[in-house]
């Protein structure tokens, strides 16, 4: 068994509406080893969810389509599997949990039914055994009185409890990979921390690799081994957390870091946002996708698209001026590009 679990190569996903084609994901590559965690960060609309959803081949089609690339998972090329083979992977070898626990559980079935269904779909067990397993899972994710709770409906649970149920469903078949698409964004801060703790604990127990999609870089630093920074469907920076935490290289990553709320930011110190907005993905982008908003952009940035280049150990960035030989100096935040975020 090789250590490499997932290798995504040049993944491209397009959405068609009328004559316009949206290139939502435009050549994303990364690898993930067993039991490893990767964080995917980037602004809204940068293609994080689309990337994650294509790993399960669940892009709604039409209008969407995986138009290029390869996804190697545990020795299989997922894009070459039949739909039937894909079904035996979903929920079994790769599971997914979503942002909003209030809407991602089916309101008209009991939580027990929803866990049991997952187990029975992938394992040849009796209804009774499946129920026993479901209770065990609920206990494991920290639902009190699971024997009783199993017969309750989602609306009888709080948001945090529902996300725990989602995690129980996702892990019920011992997946090798768990994709979590902003699993804590919709929750209270204290509950967020509990859910992250739970995920960390269960990861050790289940030996699952995790793809964690988030807006919160703090989560990445804490939970992940690697980071993928996405912008407008492209990967702009990719590497180990250690590298990127210590020396982020891409101007877009700098912008993201500056716009995070951290403990070092005092209350009256204004937060920075990256001025402007991401490009229209329906238009052909020549040059660097970030050029229009980049404080370091030069003429070449508007005409030539920068390639991913090694900038450190296991650390890559797509910027003309960030290579092994070349260095950009990160500017101090200036009053000019500081926009005040009202809180």
């Amino acid at each position: 068994m090789s250590e490499e679990l997932l290798k995504v190569e040049n993944l491209e996903v397009q959405f068609k509406s009328g004559s316009a084609i949206t290139k939502a994901v435009n050549g994303v590559s990364f690898t993930l080893n067993r039991r490893e965690n990767i964080g995917i960060v980037g602004e809204s609309g940068s293609g994080k969810s689309v990337t994650a959803t294509s790993l399960l081949r669940l892009i709604p089609s039409p209008p969407g389509k995986i138009s290029g690339g390869a996804i190697h998972f545990d020795g299989k090329d997922l894009l070459k599997l039949s739909e039937k083979e894909m079904k035996s992977i979903r929920g079994n070898e790769i599971s997914m949990i979503f942002q909003d626990p209030l809407t991602s559980l089916n309101p008209v079935f009991t939580v027990g039914d929803q866990i049991i269904e997952s187990i029975k779909t992938h394992q040849k067990v009796s209804k009774k055994e499946a129920k026993k397993k479901a209770i065990e899972m609920l206990k494991l994710v920290g639902i009190p009185a699971p024997e009783k709770r199993i017969n309750m409906y989602p609306h009888e649970f709080s948001g945090g409890m529902r996300q725990r149920v989602m995690i129980a469903i996702a892990l019920s078949c011992n997946p090798k990979l768990l994709i979590a698409d902003e699993p804590t964004t919709a929750l209270d801060v204290t509950v967020q921390a509990q859910i992250l703790d739970l995920m960390k604990r269960l990861q050790d127990e289940f030996n699952t690799a995790i793809i964690m999609i988030t807006h919160d870089l703090g989560v990445v630093w804490e939970l992940c081994d690697k980071v993928l920074v996405m912008y407008a469907g492209n990967v702009v920076e990719y590497g180990t957390v250690k590298e990127i935490y210590d020396q982020p290289k891409h101007p877009y990553t700098w912008g993201l870091l500056d716009s995070q709320i951290t403990e070092s930011v005092s209350e009256d110190q204004p937060l920075t946002t990256i001025p402007g907005s991401p490009p229209d993905l329906r238009q052909e982008i020549t040059g660097c996708p970030f050029a229009a908003r980049c404080a370091y952009a030069q003429d070449v940035c508007f005409t030539n698209k920068p390639k991913m280049t090694e900038v450190g150990e296991n650390h890559y960035a797509a910027c003309h001026f960030q290579t092994k030989e070349n260095r950009l100096d990160r500017k101090e935040k200036t009053a000019h590009d500081r926009a005040i975020v009202t809180s």
Binding site: L56, S88, R90, S95, M96, F98, T103, N106, V108, I169
Partner: protein
């Protein structure tokens, strides 16, 4: 649940009482003596007087009312003079025929309408969806009288496949029974089929893009289970509403269909009784039909709660 149902049944009594009072007042307070109306313009004064007394119409209004409600509460619906039978016997004779026709039409409309709506929602904006939209629009706006006559002309008169009118009997064989049933069932099923299809399509469309449908797919379930179990159960509430209305109106006598095909159900009975000016029958039929609506409504309210666990039970005024 049991408590809820008992509460709802008790709630039905005032509703029915109000209907009974309104019906009573309409027949008594309208100008003209019902007895005279029943007997027609040629009747002699002596005949009218005799009938007036027989019907108790010479009594003071409050006595009439107390008698009427008293009888009603005992289940005595009075006698029909024109049919020479207790009204209750008339209903027991005719209602099963209406039920047979309604059940048959319902089966047709559910079996065709619901799957068609689900497929149209799944394949939104496909050719199937466009054809579906066209046909379902024609269906809901179909003039049933015209459709019934066309069915008779084509299938009975031209092709001779099915009898044009009347109801078959099981004694004459299942073939006779069903061949009489087919055309009226199709006529009666047309509008509900289109309605069920449209409501199924629109509520499925709403549900199909929900997160829990995405969750169901991500669990590795088959598309059939995702759509027909996870999505459809959530789309059921609006369908139940329309279903309830259709069931009530079918059971309350499909007047047009029963008339065109001379189907001996309660719809035809009412038309007949109106023609004969038998106000005893008409009055009680109105109350009977009100009872049907109230009962179906109750059943639908209970079903709402079965399909949607978020609706709480409470015995005052059922949700709708």
């Amino acid at each position: 649940m049991g408590k809820y149902i008992v509460g709802r049944i008790l709630n039905m009594i005032p509703t029915l009482l109000i209907v009974a009072i309104i019906v009573f007042l309409i027949t008594r307070l309208l100008p003209g003596n019902p007895a005279a109306v029943m007997l027609g313009p040629q009747a002699s004064a002596a005949d009218i007087k005799a009938l007036t007394e027989e019907l108790g119409l010479n009594q003071p209004l409050y006595i009439q009312f107390v008698d009427y409600i008293g009888n009603l509460l005992q289940g005595d619906l009075g006698n029909s003079l024109t049919y020479n039978k207790p009204v209750i016997d008339l209903i027991l004779e005719r209602f099963p025929n209406t039920v047979i026709l309604a059940v048959c039409a319902l089966i047709i409309s559910i079996v065709i309408g619901v799957p068609a709506g689900i497929i149209a929602a799944r394949k939104q904006n496909s050719i199937f969806d466009y054809l579906f939209t066209t046909f379902s629009l024609i269906g809901v706006s179909m003039p049933i009288f015209w459709l019934g006559i066309m069915l008779v002309l084509f299938f009975s008169v031209n092709l001779g496949w099915f009898p044009a009118t009347g109801m078959g009997s099981m004694e004459a064989g299942a073939g006779d029974f069903f061949s009489h049933l087919i055309l009226p069932s199709i006529a009666l099923a047309t509008i509900p089929t289109a309605q069920f299809a449209r409501i199924t399509r629109s509520s499925m469309l709403e549900v199909i893009s929900q997160d829990y449908v995405k969750t169901a797919r991500s669990k590795g379930l088959s598309e059939f289970i995702v759509i027909c179990k996870h999505a459809f159960k959530n789309a059921l509430t609006p369908l139940l509403t329309v279903l309830g209305l259709q069931v009530s109106s079918m059971l309350g006598g499909a007047v047009l269909t029963e008339t065109i095909f001379s189907w001996p159900g309660i719809g035809l009975l009412i038309i007949d009784a109106i023609g004969k000016r038998d106000f005893v029958v008409v009055q009680n039929m109105v109350i009977f039909i009100a009872l049907i609506y109230v009962v179906v409504n109750l059943v639908v309210d209970i079903l709402y709660k079965v399909v949607n666990p978020r609706i709480k039970y409470s015995s005052n005024k059922g949700g709708s």
